[in-house]
């Protein structure tokens, strides 16, 4: 490998910190660092953090990045003003929204709740236009497209202020010619307007979901394009000659040029990296039930990982808007170190979802005045004023204390009690998020291990585990930048999908094989556009299938080699087996049909190795670096606890809580009643002594 592409760099830009990892592909070793986020100045942040590592930018072959730009634009509704063009008679489906009541406070209350809020249509009525055209199943043109009408409607929308246009016509999944001609006309006749067509963005049957997914994608195209232009230009000017890759929602990375057309694929690209990293850790440890818990400056992201698989969902929504793209199933709540604490109208203490972010940041950073979760932890002694972020950031305890004073006056208590309350409320919010994913789905949290990472994960993990009845916590190596591990271990991957609504009995195996080959060729092209890695692209085929007359599909892996009649029979058998495994029965005499075909194309990544710690004798005394007063609980108050230096801990060291373990990127607080063991790879395994019986 050429020396000028010695490093793969993963970068995770959070609201507060930018984390970076550089993997030396020759040795498999990684360097990492954490620096404050520089809002609006991506490249300054990136180059700063790469410089911190001592890695020359010209030796970096790839920068992999999980961008939250699109997510933020969508949540804050700061995306492009988007017009919609659809088939005559159907664009009100934006208002109908599938008719079902489902916006209740709990999973069951929606059927009764008279006051729940139905979301506004993603595209308002005055920005929607209809074309007098019609395609019918299985692809017959019933009414020809009138290009003059297209021109006229597009012009109206652009005049009404739309800078992006989404086009979704009925049955474009079986005949996309009308949609493609609409796009061609708009592309050629209207400059500076972005167009998304549904057959390219989400070729899935069921028109409402396809319409909204296409509109969301269109609304994000200018956002992504502007963002990439800025980033690339700046990186080039700094001497970067490698390639930039972005993380996608399903946990694979891709070339941004591809994503310009499909920005929607990056919606969960930030939070998914931590899930990929947790899954990687689970494989190494052989642990099958993990909860990944990433607590950063602004949010707490949790995901359930069972049997070493990244949990994927095809029912993703953003504020109830369906997003029909393959996505990791992650819960996000606004609870992080920067979450602002306040007293609400009813006199109750609340924490988040508002965050002080990187600027002004928590009060203890020196410029903010509002109390945050980080300020509370500092006042409780759980964070060190001098050792925060390896001493790069000096925290101002007095500022933290004074920010808490006003709050404690309103609550009628002292500063310590207010600080302890802030931590308790934040942890309860996080515990609720975990409850929704475990207890509400029938999983017993007592069978899981919580992997705590992100700047705030190790600080709160044992408290959160206690509140959620999780008996074991794992704090990985370099937990503060653990998400970036996910960036560099993630495969370069692309998931193609295409509609194929057809009974299996009438499928021509040669045509099916051709469809898959076309998707594989497209997938390989997507990957190779930017790939600097060698190795063959791996393909994995699957299909969403169902029994004829069913509405809901099951995904079935297809591994039958070149598809012929015999292969079709095997596919059918695989579907019966999948149906039986999921629902405990399979009417095997009934006809089966295809709905959607998928191809996952991926390129493997070079392995990552961590230097294991020295084997110790179980006594951690050698790594103790002092003591400080830390607040434990109401009964014990402040107690002098031992502070350990994580890098000096040795394998098999055992420490009883309460204790504090400090390292460059994070601080681990272990509550009383919990015990830490250092495993042979250096992970901290924290177990509840209570659950040991």
């Amino acid at each position: 490998m050429a020396s000028n592409s010695r490093y793969i760099v993963g970068i995770d830009i959070g609201g507060t910190f930018t984390d970076v990892i550089a993997l030396d592909v020759e040795t498999g070793h990684a360097l990492s660092a954490k620096t404050p986020t520089t809002p609006g100045r991506f490249v300054a942040g990136v180059t700063n953090s790469i410089k911190t590592l001592g890695v020359p930018l010209h030796e970096v072959g790839q920068i992999i990045h999980g961008s939250t730009t699109c997510t933020n634009a969508l949540i804050e509704r700061k995306h492009a003003k988007t017009g919609f063009i659809g088939t005559k008679g159907f664009s009100d489906e934006f208002d109908i929204q599938r008719m079902i009541r489902r916006w209740g406070k709990t999973s069951w209350s929606a059927i009764y709740d008279l006051h729940q809020k139905k979301p506004a249509p993603f595209v308002r009525r005055h920005l929607r236009r209809e074309l007098d055209e019609r395609v019918a199943y299985p692809g017959v043109v019933v009414k020809e497209l009138d290009l003059d009408e297209v021109r006229c409607k597009a012009k109206e929308l652009i005049e009404a202020g739309a800078s992006s246009l989404a086009v979704c016509l009925l049955w474009s999944t079986v005949n996309s010619s009308h949609e493609r001609r609409v796009k061609a006309l708009i592309d050629s006749e209207f400059k500076n307007v972005y167009v998304s067509i549904s057959c390219e963005v989400a070729p899935v049957v069921r028109e409402y979901e396809r319409m909204v997914t296409t509109a969301v994608n269109a609304s994000l195209m200018p956002v992504m394009t502007d963002y990439l232009a800025t980033v690339k230009e700046e990186l080039n000017s700094m001497g970067f000659r490698g390639s930039l890759l972005l993380m996608q929602s399903h946990g694979g990375v891709a070339d941004p040029e591809v994503l310009k057309e499909r920005p929607i694929l990056t919606l969960r690209g930030g939070p998914v990296a931590g899930v990929v990293a947790t899954n990687n850790l689970g494989k190494t440890l052989g642990t099958k039930r993990l909860i990944s818990c990433d607590i950063g400056g602004t949010s707490c992201d949790t995901a359930i990982i069972l049997d070493h698989a990244i949990p994927l969902t095809d029912e993703t929504e953003v504020d109830y808007y369906p997003v029909k793209i393959p996505t990791a199933d992650i819960h996000c709540i606004g609870a992080g170190g920067g979450s602002i604490a306040y007293v609400d109208a009813g006199g109750a203490l609340r924490v988040g979802p508002e965050s002080a972010g990187a600027s002004p940041g928590p009060a203890c950073y020196g410029s903010g005045t509002q109390p945050t979760l980080t300020d509370a932890n500092l006042v409780l002694g759980r964070l060190s004023a001098d050792e925060f972020c390896g001493g790069q950031i000096k925290l101002d305890t007095d500022a933290a204390r004074s920010s808490l004073e006003a709050l404690s006056r309103r609550l009628g208590c002292n500063v310590t009690t207010a600080a302890e309350g802030i931590v308790r409320v934040a942890v309860a919010n996080m515990a609720e998020s975990i409850r929704l994913q475990t207890i509400d789905r029938g999983h017993d949290p007592r069978e899981f291990s919580l992997v705590g990472f992100g700047g705030g994960g190790p600080l709160h993990a044992s408290l959160l585990a206690e509140a959620s009845s999780i008996p074991e916590v794992i704090i990985p190596l370099q937990p503060g930048v653990f998400s970036t591990v996910g960036m560099v271990v993630a495969e370069l991957g692309y998931r193609s999908q295409t509609g194929c609504l057809q009974p299996l009995a009438s499928v021509d195996p040669i045509k099916l094989e051709r469809s898959f080959r076309e998707m594989e060729a497209a997938g390989a092209a997507m990957l190779r556009t930017s790939s600097t890695k060698r190795g063959d692209v791996r393909f994995s085929r699957s299909a969403a299938m169902r029994y004829t007359l069913q509405e809901w599909e099951i995904q079935v892996g297809i591994d039958v080699g070149r598809i012929d009649h015999h292969g079709l029979e095997k596919i059918k058998a695989a579907f019966h087996a999948a149906h039986r495994a999921r629902y405990a029965f399979a009417p095997e005499d009934k006809p089966v049909e295809f709905v959607t075909l998928y191809v996952d194309s991926s390129l493997p990544t070079p392995p990552l190795r961590h230097e294991p710690p020295v084997q110790g004798d179980g006594d951690p005394a050698g790594s103790q670096k002092g003591t400080r007063a830390v607040y434990i609980d109401e009964r014990m108050g402040f107690v002098d606890v031992s502070i350990y230096d994580r890098v000096r801990l040795e394998a098999d060291d055992v420490i009883n809580g309460p204790c504090i373990i400090e390292e460059l990127t994070s601080t681990t607080f272990v509550q009383k009643g919990w015990q830490v063991t250092v495993d042979p790879m250096g992970n901290l395994i924290v177990r509840s002594l209570e659950s040991e019986r």
Binding site: D95, I96, I100, I111, Y112, Y547, Q550
Partner: protein, 637 residues
């Protein structure tokens, strides 16, 4: 021990108030050692019981065949104690769930508790023996743990056809005998093996045997999932811990309901009207007197019209179910629904009325009466909880049924269309929803692409109605407009709607919503308004290339439209939800520049003028809001 038939409860509710939480004294009950649960186990089990029901729901939804079940979700899944108390339900139809324990009771009384065996599955659909209406087939599975019957899993699903005189089994019947095959509680599985004659008897009587058979298989799979989940739970936590948590949850829901009822003691009454019974036109009164005493609620339907000759009668279990749904909606919908919160609720429904008919009154069209029961309870409580009630919803299902033969495949089909849903009423703080499923059920619409894939029809429009009804400070939501045409064949068509004459009422000066309509535009140019006085018809013929248009009612407005925020009126005009004319006449908002710009000065003047006129008319308007609205009244505005 012999358990009395469920009809005993229906008769009892006629004489005196029936406490909905009462446990039948003649049903044997399993012993439970009650011991204190730690809070984590309690929380874990509550979630697990709900998620067992959700797993039943997903299984039934994902494996069933007819769109009314696998998309429209006209089904419900629940689990019960051995003495037929509701333990938990999935997020399904309010009308099904509050009534399903009567099906469990009916199985117990028909066969005798001691004769229920492991591996048995019971089936029924007779409304007079624990069912709701004939298309809803209920399967009840006793759940055994270590050879002891500890619980029941049950589900009911609306089938595409159960025979009778009309495709879709929604005829304008004058007795239940025309409505399809009646299934009393029968043993469908006997100790693990299928009783083949039951299913062959059923399939011989329906127009869609393939769908019905597949849907019954899905129902079986759902109950199996429920039973499996419960056994697994008991394996893990122990029988007593699980059963104990169930009892605790009931007490918990009862406490939560009582604590959050928060309605002043008093007696509150309201009346509303159905447009006709399908057989004859003319208003049919539904009257409810709601008495609140502390944290107990007594709902008395005395004064409700005698049972109808046509099929709109709601048997006692569905009536009770909607009382429960209304009170939960008006109290705290986040309370976990189980038998515990039935305990503070008491219902009296005289026999031989619309809300407690006697055999063999037809009952297939009960859901519209169910919708009206919720509304009449809300109307009654409007003076005391004005912020919690909402203006009238569409109040009807506007269900449509199509039967024909697919010209390509030569196969007969029945299509139950549920997409024609109405608008909901305006609320104290927000507009009503456009086009949302009626309150007695809650399902997804059938995507146009799914309709066209499955049925030989082309949908021409699926959109919001274009009307100016339901003006208010918070306006009503729009009903649906569906236009469609059959391809290459003629079709038998039936419709079960309401609110064709009696409009969805507005509240506090809000205007009523729009009535429902159904029109056939014949190929030869003839325009046929279908049953304009009651919107109920069966077996009409829609010919190839005729266009059928169904318009569901829109919701009523809440509050004086003159108090509506001018920006909201402008947004509605921009979006074509409110016309410029209605903006002026109903809202007093004047536009200039062809409707783009609000003329604020003219608006202020017009609003002041209209306010004065409104003050003098408000008493009159309020009284109109308490009478059956008619189209004639509306024309007089």
């Amino acid at each position: 021990m012999v358990t009395a038939p469920v009809s005993r409860w229906f008769a009892q509710a006629s004489e005196d108030f029936l406490n909905l939480g009462a446990i039948p004294p003649d049903v044997p009950r399993v012993e439970v050692r009650r011991n204190a649960l730690d809070p984590v186990t309690f929380a874990v089990l509550g979630g697990a019981l709900f998620s067992i029901c959700q797993e039943m729901d997903i299984t039934l939804r994902n494996t069933s065949l007819s769109p009314i079940i696998n998309i429209g979700k006209d089904f419900s899944c629940a689990i019960f104690t051995s003495d037929a108390q509701l333990v938990a339900q999935a997020c399904n139809c309010p009308g099904h769930v509050g009534s399903m324990h009567y099906a469990v009771l009916s199985c117990i009384s028909s066969f005798g508790f001691e004769n229920l065996n492991e591996g048995d599955v019971y089936m029924l659909n007779d409304p007079y023996q624990g069912g709701t209406h004939l298309p809803d087939i209920t399967l009840i599975t006793p759940v055994f743990y270590k050879d002891e019957l500890v619980m029941f899993a049950g589900n009911r699903a609306h089938h595409s056809d159960v025979g009778g005189s009309c495709p879709g089994s929604f005829p304008l019947s004058d007795s239940i005998f025309e409505e399809g095959i009646r299934i009393p509680p029968v043993k469908f599985y006997d100790r693990g093996s299928k009783v083949p004659s039951v299913i062959s008897m059923l399939l011989a009587n329906v127009r869609t045997p393939e769908e019905v058979e597949g849907d019954i298989e899905a129902q079986l799979a759902a109950n199996r999932a429920g039973a499996r989940g419960l056994v697994r739970l008991m394996d893990k936590y122990g029988r007593d811990v699980v059963l104990c948590a169930i009892l605790e949850y009931m007490d918990h829901s009862e406490r939560a309901f009582r604590n959050s009822l928060n309605i002043p003691d008093g007696s509150y009454t309201a009346e509303d009207w159905m447009d006709g019974d399908g057989k004859t036109e003319g208003a049919r009164k539904i009257r409810a007197n709601v008495v609140v005493k502390g944290s107990d609620v007594f709902v008395d339907f005395t004064g409700t019209e005698a049972q109808a000759r046509g099929p709109i009668n709601s048997i006692f279990p569905t009536t009770a179910s909607m009382v429960v749904a209304a009170l939960l909606a008006l109290t705290d919908p986040t309370i976990m629904p189980n038998h515990g919160f039935y305990r503070p609720i008491h219902v009296k429904a005289p026999s031989g009325t619309l809300v407690n008919p006697t055999f063999p009154a037809p009952a297939v069209g009960f859901p519209d009466v169910c919708n009206r029961i919720v509304e009449v309870i809300m109307e009654a409580l409007t003076p005391v909880i004005p912020d919690r009630v909402i203006a009238a919803t569409s109040g009807t299902t506007t269900n449509c049924f199509f039967g024909g033969t697919n010209p390509t495949s030569g196969q007969p089909y029945v299509w139950y269309n549920i997409n024609s849903q109405g608008g909901w009423g305006g609320r104290s703080d927000a507009d009503g929803w456009h086009n949302v499923c009626f309150i007695e059920a809650n399902g997804w619409d059938i995507p146009v692409e799914t309709i066209e894939y499955r049925y030989p029809w082309r949908v021409l429009a699926y959109k919001l109605r274009d009307d100016d009804s339901g003006a208010g400070k918070f306006r009503g939501g729009k009903g649906n407009y569906l236009a469609l045409t059959p391809i290459g064949h003629d079709v038998q068509f039936s419709v079960n709607g309401d609110r064709a004459v009696t409009l969805p009422y507005g509240l506090f000066g809000g205007k009523p919503g729009a009535s429902g309509k159904c029109t056939i535009y014949h190929k030869d140019g003839r325009i046929e308004r279908v049953a304009p006085k009651m919107l109920k018809a069966d077996r009409l013929i829609v010919r190839q290339d005729d266009v059928l248009v169904i318009e569901a009612p829109s919701g009523g407005g809440y509050g004086n439209p003159l108090e509506r925020n001018v920006d909201s009126v402008r947004d509605d005009v921009l979006d074509g939800i409110v016309s410029i004319e209605s903006a002026r006449h109903d809202y007093g908002v004047v536009f200039s520049d062809g409707g783009r710009v609000v003329d604020f000065i003219a608006t202020a003047e017009l609003r002041a003028q209209m306010f004065n006129a409104y003050e003098t008319r408000s008493a009159e308007l309020n009284s109109i809001n308490r009478k059956p609205y008619t189209l004639d009244d509306d024309a007089g505005h």
